[in-house]
Symmetry: none
Subunit: 225 residues, 2 copies
């Protein structure tokens, strides 16, 4: 068995069942009668609930739509890859030589799945309260700020960096329309780069619409390369 | 406050916080400073975990893909509408007169959302173990059999295979009648094979009626052999 002392120390948690943690760390490429996919299935639901509940209390005035958006920004492959890396999870994963040589230990999907599986294993042997504490500590340590603004800001920054490098200019955000009564307004925003429209998005605020349009533009520009 | 005695009895659960259960039963059309959408967000994640964990233990040999499929067949609007109806949840929902006159109390989405919200409320005040017990009892009572086959069997496809093999033709579905006001329509459908009517069924949509009629016809044809 791998030396998981360091992992236990980082997590502040001592695994009870050696069999279970080995299963959680076993990628399907490592031919065994078990792998971590079932635990990943469970861990995924555990994390969805933990993060959902955390946001429910953290944002008592936010509606369901915003809670869902913030959760989607935290609970996804990128987010879990980040948490997995923060505990050096890659080191502990069992995988085949082929997968190893193929850079498996650094793959976002593999890291994210193993992270979910480890959380699923902790849930199984120690229950929701214990895994909640561990997961929330990791999330808070790895996200400076948890809010709609901060989690979505990245796309505008990313887009600006991209367009400056490629076109030597910053993107322009144009409000195309605003609709609806004051308490339920919607804004439609377009991103313009070099006089060409790259994307549009509709949001409850200009900021949200800008961020979503920026996200689409980033994806388009990355495809164009 | 509505008389929720009967609801409490059906659920086998006594609500601790009157404020919370009222929130869980309040549709957004009922103008209040609160509605059940945040609790629905929470309840949705609670049910995902409860059902996921239940299937994890019930099917120790099933892989993640099959567990996901079975869960998707249980955890959806139709599934939760069924559970909501089984506890007569519609009776207890607070909604606007307009929504009421529009048949809101019978709407699948409204019933399903309120069911999730009630489960979210029970989770909040009594924790995962209590809500798990209640939810699993309801699910087991309302699904005769929980398996990939039984949840996914498409009777129209089965019937078509049967009739093609036996009669060299495909069954015809004939709408015999549609009844009721728009928001509460019912369809009566007959299955005709070789000019002979084999079965009839009534459903909330043509599709549902067709599936049920097909199921009866399949059973009849299998008996005829």
């Amino acid at each position: 068995m791998k030396n998981i002392e360091a992992l236990q120390k980082t997590l502040g948690y001592k695994f009870k069942s050696e069999k279970l943690i080995i299963e959680a760390l076993t990628h399907k490429s490592h031919k065994q009668p078990y792998d971590n996919e079932r635990l990943e299935f469970l861990g995924d639901a555990v994390l969805d609930l933990i993060v959902g509940e955390y946001l429910f209390f953290k944002f008592p005035k936010s509606d369901e739509g915003n809670l869902s958006k913030i959760r989607a920004a935290l609970v996804n492959e990128d987010g879990f890859e980040k948490l997995a890396r923060s505990i050096n999870l890659g080191e502990y994963i069992y995988l085949s030589n082929a997968e190893e040589n193929n850079g498996g230990r650094e793959k976002a999907s593999l890291l994210s799945n193993a992270f979910e599986a480890v959380m699923g294993a902790i849930y199984l042997e120690s229950g929701l309260d214990v895994v909640r504490k561990i997961a929330i500590e990791l999330i808070e340590r790895n996200h400076k700020e948890i809010s709609l603004d901060s989690l979505f800001r990245d796309f505008k920054t990313t887009l600006q960096e991209l367009t400056q490098a490629r076109f030597g200019e910053t993107p322009e955000y144009r409000v195309i329309a605003s609709r609806g009564p004051d308490h339920k307004k919607e804004f439609e925003v377009a991103v313009i780069i070099e006089n060409k429209e790259y994307a549009r998005a509709i949001g409850k605020s200009k900021k949200i619409a800008q961020q979503e349009a920026a996200e689409t533009a980033v994806k388009l520009l990355n495809k164009e390369i």
